[in-house]
């Protein structure tokens, strides 16, 4: 059972701390959703969790071992990362891009084999973009790129996947498709950490929610208890209500009248 846990984690850059005292844990089958306004440190926290940035305090334990003692290969066999959709400099095919996720399962000097190519194609099919395999990564839409990067993480076959705002550049349909995938993957036993700007996404698929603002945790726990109108209003500085739909799902409704251009102060 592979878990990723952080205790009293401090993160940021040398001489430029971004956040501190973050506790989190993700176990197989769980979806940990990180919410927070722009600049709250979500991406920096993820980079620290992945061992890309040196932690500024506390500890990170992956699979029972301190992350500092693991090599890049050992980390990459346990955690896959889906970065925010980006341009690529060279026109790799979508299939080649996904195939790169297989690198960690090959020896230092070897290249992907036939079954790696099949696994890559399978990951693309799973996300419904199998027909893009031979297209150039530079010539598909931002949303398709995001899906391809998720496919690459699947092809990496890790027990834990960290996704940095996987729905950010997607249209409505693709956002729903990604959330469906997230749920399916967690049902299949993967542990997933993802950040999002949309509280509804957390309400829809998270088993646990962390709310980060100014580099510290404002709240953590199950979505229904954590995500209240008061908390969202104070974190995002806009007026928000939570409504319960007839079948039990909660949705987040922003209040658009009044307070425009003015910072909302709880208690006004």
């Amino acid at each position: 059972m592979t878990t990723l846990a952080a205790r009293q984690l401090g993160f940021g850059y040398p001489r430029q701390p971004v956040g501190r005292d973050v506790d989190l844990e993700v176990a197989p089958g769980e979806v940990l959703c990180l919410l927070g306004p722009n600049g709250s440190g979500k991406t920096t926290l993820f980079k620290t969790l992945l061992g890309l940035l040196v932690r500024q305090g506390g500890n990170i334990v992956l699979d029972g071992k301190d992350i500092g003692t693991l090599s890049r290969t050992q980390i990459a066999r346990r955690v896959a990362y889906v970065p925010q959709a980006h341009e690529s400099v060279f026109p790799y095919t979508v299939h080649d891009m996904v195939l790169m996720g297989r690198t960690v399962h090959r020896g230092l000097f070897s290249s992907p084999r036939e079954h790696d190519a099949l696994r890559a194609q399978q990951a693309l099919d799973q996300l419904g973009i199998g027909d893009l395999a031979s297209r150039e990564f530079t010539r598909i839409s931002g949303g398709q790129r995001q899906l391809a990067l998720i496919a690459r993480a699947l092809a990496q076959d890790t027990p834990i996947v960290v996704m940095d705002e996987p729905t950010a550049s997607l249209d409505f349909g693709n956002q729903v498709r990604v959330l469906q995938q997230v749920r399916k993957l967690s049902e299949a036993g993967l542990g997933i950490v993802l950040s999002t700007h949309n509280p509804d996404h957390a309400l829809a698929c998270a088993s646990r929610v962390l709310v980060l603002a100014d580099g510290t945790l404002q709240a953590s726990g199950s979505p229904d208890t954590v995500l209240t109108g008061e908390l969202l209003s104070s974190v995002y500085q806009v007026e928000v209500r939570l409504e319960r739909l007839s079948h039990g799902q909660h949705v987040c409704v922003p209040h658009l009248d009044g307070n425009t251009g003015k910072r909302f102060r709880p208690g006004d």
Partner: protein, 341 residues
């Protein structure tokens, strides 16, 4: 399913065609030159090698063995090495506009050689100096880049290369002013423009092992080279150690560049343009890009060198021709080019 978006041709067929083209070019180039040599001479020369015949060489055979074949082989080697190094640098720095010149390798090697000529050292020492000059420049570039933290590492590396390259250029200019204008200056100028005139089998034998040593890690780690083109952070999350890998790739490409610059002088454009064209034909996957770039670079430099030695009574410097051919091709690539490479 067709997974090759870049060429309608089967990759095996493409490579077969490239190998055949380079072989045909080499065969043709051996026969071309001021002293007439025909294919019958070539056959008798080949027979001599096979049978181990030690009777005195005919004049045509002498021309073949001591001039033409070494020169053609050197042109192939230099073209392949510069082009491979260019493909590596472009991938590593995620920029299709960089070339072996970018890290100051060529200029550093040039400074070494010019210093050797200035000190009137023998040819072997000049080559050694060129190699040391290239290696020292890259080491300095790397040290400067490592000392400057908190910036995009690739950008710092390229900028340090440009700065130290400019410094080496300034030193070359100083040596040119101090050099003897009748004896040393023409030699320096000619060398800086690049030339394969006067290449001997011994020069080739000196450069070949270094090029092969540089090539080994590139071939072994060719799949991982693709990951480097995604940037350090992504490469790291996919399970490679980008710092160590970059150091190894830069060292390998530099060894290849410096060892051929040491025998051919500074030949620009090949390492910039040929990986580009190869990428258009076979795509960016380093698996296919590396061999395609090497074959195309070899063929291209052979054509240019053959033109250089037959165009006029006196040899045209190679660097001049590669620039005349390379610049328009490159502009055409930019103009007709794709949004991305």
């Amino acid at each position: 399913m067709d997974k090759r978006a870049h060429t309608a041709l089967n990759p095996g067929f493409t490579f077969g065609l490239l190998v055949l083209a380079v072989a045909a070019l080499a065969f043709g180039a051996v026969l071309v030159g001021p002293y007439p040599v025909d294919s019958a001479d070539l056959v008798s020369a080949a027979n001599r090698i096979i049978s181990g015949d030690t009777t005195p060489l005919s004049q045509a055979e002498t021309v073949l063995f001591s001039i033409r074949i070494p020169r053609v082989a050197t042109a192939l080697l230099v073209g392949a090495a510069l082009s491979a190094a260019g493909a590596v640098y472009q991938g590593l720095f995620r920029n299709p506009l960089v070339s072996p010149d970018i890290l100051g390798v060529s200029t550093g090697a040039g400074l070494g050689a010019v210093l050797g000529i200035f000190l009137s050292l023998p040819v072997v020492a000049i080559q050694g100096f060129a190699f040391i000059g290239g290696a020292v420049t890259v080491t300095l570039v790397y040290l400067v880049a490592s000392a400057v933290r908190n910036h995009e590492p690739t950008l710092v590396l390229v900028l340090s290369g440009v700065v130290l390259g400019a410094l080496a250029s300034a030193c070359i200019s100083l040596l040119k002013i101090l050099a003897d204008p009748y004896d040393q200056l023409p030699a320096i100028t000619f060398w800086l423009l690049g030339s394969l005139a006067g290449i001997q089998a011994g020069d080739l034998a000196g450069a070949l092992p270094a090029v092969i040593i540089g090539l080994v890690p590139l071939v072994l780690l060719r799949w991982r080279m693709n990951l480097m083109a995604l940037g350090d952070e992504e490469a790291a999350t996919l399970g490679v150690d980008p710092r160590r890998l970059r150091l190894l790739f830069v060292a390998a490409a530099t060894l290849m560049t410096a060892s051929v610059v040491a025998i051919s002088g500074v030949i620009g454009w090949v390492g910039l343009v040929m990986p580009h064209i190869a990428r258009l034909v076979v795509g960016p996957n380093f698996h296919r890009l590396l061999p395609a770039a090497m074959l195309m670079g070899a063929g291209y430099l052979l054509i240019v060198d053959t033109i250089a030695r037959t165009l006029a009574e006196t040899e045209t410097p190679l660097g001049v021709l590669t620039a005349f051919v390379g610049a328009p091709v490159f502009i055409w690539l930019l103009a007709t080019g794709r949004r991305s490479w």
